[in-house]
Amino acid sequence: MPEIRVTPLGAGQDVGRSCILVSIAGKNVMLDCGMHMGFSDDRRFPDFSYITRSGRLTDFLDCVIISHFHLDHCGALPYFSEMVGYDGPIYMTQPTQAICPILLEDYRKIAVDKKGEANFFTSQMIKDCMKKVVAVHLHQTVQVDDELEIKAYYAGHVLGAAMFQIKVGSESVVYTGDYNMTPDRHLGAAWIDKCRPSLLITESTYATTIRDSKRCRERDFLKKVHETVERGGKVLIPVFALGRAQELCILLETFWERMDLKAPIYFSTGLTEKANHYYKLFIPWTNQKIRKTFVQRNMFEFKHIKAFDRAFADSPGPMVVFATPGMLHAGQSLQIFRKWAGNEKNMVIMPGYCVQGTVGHKILSGQRKLEMEGRQVLEVKMQVEYMSFSAHADAKGIMQLVGQAEPENVLLVHGEAKKMEFLKQKIEQEFRVNCYMPANGETVTLPTSPSIPVGISLGLLKREMAQGLLPDAKKPRLLHGTLIMKDSNFRLVSSEQALKELGLAEHQLRFTCRVHLHDTRKEQEMAMRVYSHLKSVLKDHCVQHLPDGSVTVESILVQAAAHSEDPGTKVLLVSWTYQDEELGSYLTSLLKKGLPQAS
């Protein structure tokens, strides 16, 4: 029995470490290869030994697909390909391919240089890993091998984020990665056609949230930043270098210009300019408005936003600083946070989701006394604000996407179990499809029943369809033919053609039954009576009286003959071929009952 199997190695009832194994029609595909920001031990990477303990990963996977450049979707890639060992193809979009190695290098530096981790992947490994990447363009059908094909759809979320359709024959799986159903300041909304996949694997970060309008959130954000700066405070916005950062920069840049504000805005790390340059080169991946106006004004050239220097953190006076990373788990954003946390005039705005175990998550859940390294306790007096700018679809958006794709089954990943439970019920009710939410390491098996494509000879098809057009064809008609199977080539042809192709002759099987009737009349008269009797009973059939005295019903022949011994008995010879057996046999039994008396 064919089936689709799905096993999350990460992101099963959890956010972070996205890594989902899919088996479809004998092909194995790994979707994303992320790291978990909440852990720094073995658990930060997916457990690839699940795929194989001894063999080479390349033998067990047909391909790997990376949905976008966020580290919780690609952070384990060099470890997976270079340290565990995988040499097969890795597919991602071009912007992801461009930006992913930069974030990986960033991540490596923090882990090795700042935290002093040993046995981590090296810069060379990142390079070697990226050599295995094949770029995928939107809507292009990429043939991984003769049977397996993949296709990318626009997902919004971050620059170059894509949803992927994985297809073998008539079976398909769509994996959304992270996506956003509403356009934002720099990206468009996710879109997919009615591709009716056997299974849709969707993220569910905001499974229970219906977010208010984006405008309100933006106004709120600007108001909070403005108030803080006005009273001389400092605003820290932890972000990832690429993605939300650009959207918020565009927002602040236009606000500063409009309000003629003077407080400096900084962007940490030397990445800024480079990052913005990527956005300039990948304009076709941004939203409609930016694409339309980029010739006149490139939105990613900022006038008010300048590079940050570490020394600025101690300067007096108001300022706004964008610093990486976004969850306050390490690096510059955490350093600045420690410096500014003690002053109630300051503010930290968390613009995105924070994984459990990170400082970001702790302060957002209300913790105000943080235990730092060396048993030091940091008291947080600064204001802590959460603004959901993460570009994930909310519950409404997820339902919308399910409606667009019309899947036969849905599977939820990248969310919290409790919220998933709620969304699962909603999806099952509204769309009447099964919805699954496996935990990590748990396998969901979906039996599938793919139809078999064959070639039907046009002659046979036309003959059938012409028959189907007859007005009396209310009953479903049976098509009869022969399926010729040669290697993997399946053809359905008429029986006659099959015989001819195979060089075989038809064997005709014919029956002739003798029906004895007591009747003294002449044979010709008998035939006449048989004719009128059959004509009256078989109204829908073609009954004919031929000049030679015989009677035909369709292709069945009835002849009247004298009995060789008994002149009072006549013999009716009913003759038909095997193909007309039902009618022939019926006629025999009908005639056996005798002919009605002439009135």
Binding site: Y278, L461, L478, L483, R491, L492, S495, A498, H507, E582
Partner: protein, 686 residues
């Protein structure tokens, strides 16, 4: 009454079904050829009940018959003498002007549209665009023929195509011309005119340029596609664009069903310039390959032309002259700028200003940098650094290349000579180029270098004669030449090739060059403007899906090694051009038989088909089988063609021959069925 109504219903209902099923055109695909220009094609393909327009190129060579539109009042042009007939009749002198022995129409320039009468263009379902040069007639088609379909093109094709149209509209609209000449088009008058006006075709259908509003409306009908994207049309046909290597986003198209494949090859290139390389492999196994858009200058090598371009440019500038390069705002200009980027320092030209003047110059330069995925590998890798893919970004940054929307405004302040100017239009009939021809034409220090191959440079120059300026002809056409075509055809091996008639014979000027034509076996089928071609392929198969439940019930039987058969009885369902076979409905069991059935219920449905039989019956084994099943008293007689088996007791006779068996018995149904089943044991069903 009732009967009549019934019949009307069925006849009204039949044709529409036939169309939906895609069978009305089953055995033939047709091609309607609407353009005679081999590099600006416009064909309509009717294939499996879909009507697909392949490109809609606009033949602009018609504008060569018109006087140039000067941006600045030109006393020379406005004082040209009117033309009069040999007998001195001067009634056309307002419309026709004479310049150095050539006659020109003094009017708003007009274009030669694709044929609109050959086929009702409102029936076109989709238009496939292969590159931005082949879509210039789009507004005429989508806005004025009742077209309601969809246009498919890649993003660079649309964006750059828009720029080309915008430039064209701008060039023509900014020089309003009061006069629109039409007298000369009268057939009787046209006959009296000198060549080439006399020979101009279909002048009555020539049209003025469209408006920006029409352009926007036309472009809004385009749906963007990516290379190798499979696009389903009505479930019957799948179309796919493939990289063609000629220009940014340029494509060839595959049009296929499950069993037939048409490849449409339009402007393609195997040279390594800036676009992504041509995808040749996907063209394999085509039934028909339609070949258009080959190089217009088969004898010129693009590489040596670029070399000549650079050296002539350097020579002129060193001597203190100016260089004028009439060009389109996108395409080869990117490659020329790249060559110059590498060349100017070594040639000592670093202080010479390069000007690029076009209303869309800035947009073209900007757009070229954001289409990384459509570029060749070398350029693609640049964006990973991240660096702009084209070096003209650096030329602009270092002020070596400056771009302006027109000669008015900033340009007049910045203008320094000697210099190099890239500007349009290559026909020299409109655009800023007209001004530079008037300005520099009188000095032999200056040079005009023709790089675009679309217009004959001699004809383009005709209204500017006499000229002192040097003219260099370096046509750079990177499209396939005939050697590359024959290599390509050997590689992809289409069953049939269809191409414009120009490609099936050597060029008229080089009639001895038998190598300058398409050479393939079987010989290519050729087409010309306004011709309808039946494409030579027969459809034999159609895809059908066997539902899993039905597939499970099939019993395959190996007939020969590697070949298995299964008889199929199933119900056919057809919807949206897709066919599905489902298992036959289970026979409904009679419910107890309390009610007496009407006699007619017993009459079997003669439409239930039984399989055909094949094989032969070995008499000895058959007799043994009969005996095993309790028949005795069996007698076998030999006949001329076989045997007769007699069951004397049952008064039954079985004639067995090589290909037939005849059972003759009394009306004993039980006996007959028993004998039937024993016979069937020896036969195979089909």
């Amino acid at each position: 009454m009732c009967h009549v109504r019934m019949e009307q219903k069925t006849t009204a209902w039949k044709p529409s079904i036939w169309n939906n099923l895609g069978l009305s055109e089953t055995l033939l695909a047709r091609e309607y050829c609407l353009s005679g220009h081999p590099t600006l094609p416009c064909n309509v393909l009717k294939f499996k009940s879909t009507t697909i327009m392949l490109d809609c190129g606009l033949d602009m060579t018609s504008t060569l018959n018109f006087l140039p539109l000067p941006l600045v009042q030109s006393p020379r042009l406005s004082n040209l003498p009117g033309w009069s007939l040999k007998d001195g009749n001067a009634f056309l002198d307002k419309e026709l002007k004479e310049c150095s022995g050539h006659v020109f129409v003094d009017s708003v320039p007009e274009f030669c549209l694709p044929e609109t009468e050959l086929i009702d263009l409102s029936t076109v379902d989709v238009i496939l665009i292969s590159n931005y040069h082949c879509m210039m007639a789009l507004p005429y088609i989508t806005e004025h023929t009742g077209f309601t379909g969809t246009v498919y093109a890649t993003e660079p094709t649309v964006q750059i195509g828009r720029l080309l149209m915008e430039e064209l509209v701008n060039f023509i609209e900014r020089v309003p011309k009061a006069q629109s000449a039409s007298l000369w088009k009268n057939k009787d008058i046209q006959r009296l005119l000198p060549s080439p006006l006399k020979d101009a075709v279909e002048v009555s259908t020539w049209r003025r340029c469209y408006t920006m509003q029409e352009v926007n409306s036309a472009l809004s009908k385009i749906q963007l596609v990516g290379y190798s994207q499979k696009i389903e049309l009505f479930g019957a046909v799948q179309v796919t664009p493939l990289s063609s290597g000629y220009a940014l986003g340029s494509s060839n198209w595959i049009i296929q069903s499950h069993y037939e494949k048409v490849s449409y090859v339009s402007g393609s290139s195997l040279l390594t310039t800036h676009p992504q390389p041509m995808d040749q492999a996907s063209l394999k196994n085509s039934d028909v390959l339609i070949l258009t858009g080959l190089t217009q200058i088969p004898t010129a090598n693009p590489d040596s032309m670029v070399g000549e371009f650079c050296s002539n440019l350097a020579l002129t500038v060193r001597n203190g002259g100016n260089v004028l390069v009439p060009c389109y705002p996108s395409g080869v200009i990117y490659d020329l700028l790249e060559c110059l980027y590498q060349y100017i320092d070594s040639a000592g030209l670093s202080s010479i200003p390069f000007y690029f003047i076009s209303p869309v110059a800035n947009s073209s330069l900007e757009f070229s940098q954001i289409f990384a995925e459509w570029l060749c590998h070398n350029k693609q890798t640049k964006v990973y650094l991240p660096e702009p893919p084209f070096p003209h970004a650096e030329l602009i940054q270092t002020n070596k290349l400056k771009h302006y929307p027109s000669i008015h405004g900033d340009f007049s302040n910045d203008f320094r000579q000697p210099c190099v100017v890239f500007t349009g239009h290559p026909s020299l009939r409109f655009g800023d180029v007209v001004h530079f021809m008037e300005l520099w034409g009188k000095s032999s220090l200056n040079t005009v270098i023709f790089t675009e191959p679309d217009f004959s440079y001699l004809e383009a120059l005709a209204p500017y004669q006499p000229l002192a300026m040097k003219c260099i002809y370096c046509p750079i056409d990177t499209r396939l030449n005939f050697i590359q075509v024959s290599k390509l055809l050997k590689e992809v091996q289409p069953l049939h090739v269809v191409c414009p008639e120009q490609y099936t014979q050597p060029p008229p000027a080089q009639s001895h060059r038998m190598d300058l034509m398409v050479d393939c076996q079987p010989p290519a089928m050729s087409y010309r403007r306004a011709e309808v071609l039946a494409l030579p392929f027969k459809r034999r198969y159609e895809k059908i899906e066997i539902m899993p439940e039905l597939a499970d019930s099939l019993v395959p039987m190996e007939i020969k090694p590697g070949i298995s058969l299964a008889t199929v009885s199933a119900v056919l369902h057809t919807k949206d051009n897709k066919h599905v076979l489902q298992p036959p409905p289970r026979p409904t069991q009679p419910t107890g038989g309390k009610k007496r059935k009407r006699a007619s219920d017993d009459i079997p449905d003669c439409k239930v088909l039984k399989p055909l039989l094949s094989g032969s019956i070995p008499v000895d084994q058959f007799v043994q089988t009969l005996e095993k099943h309790g028949f005795s008293d069996i007698k076998v007689e030999d006949t001329a063609k076989g045997h007769i088996v007699l069951l004397q007791e049952a008064e039954t006779l079985i004639q067995i021959e090589e290909d037939s068996t005849h059972i003759i018995c009394d009306d004993d149904e039980v006996l007959r069925v028993r004998l039937r089943d024993l016979v069937l044991k020896f036969l195979q069903k089909f």
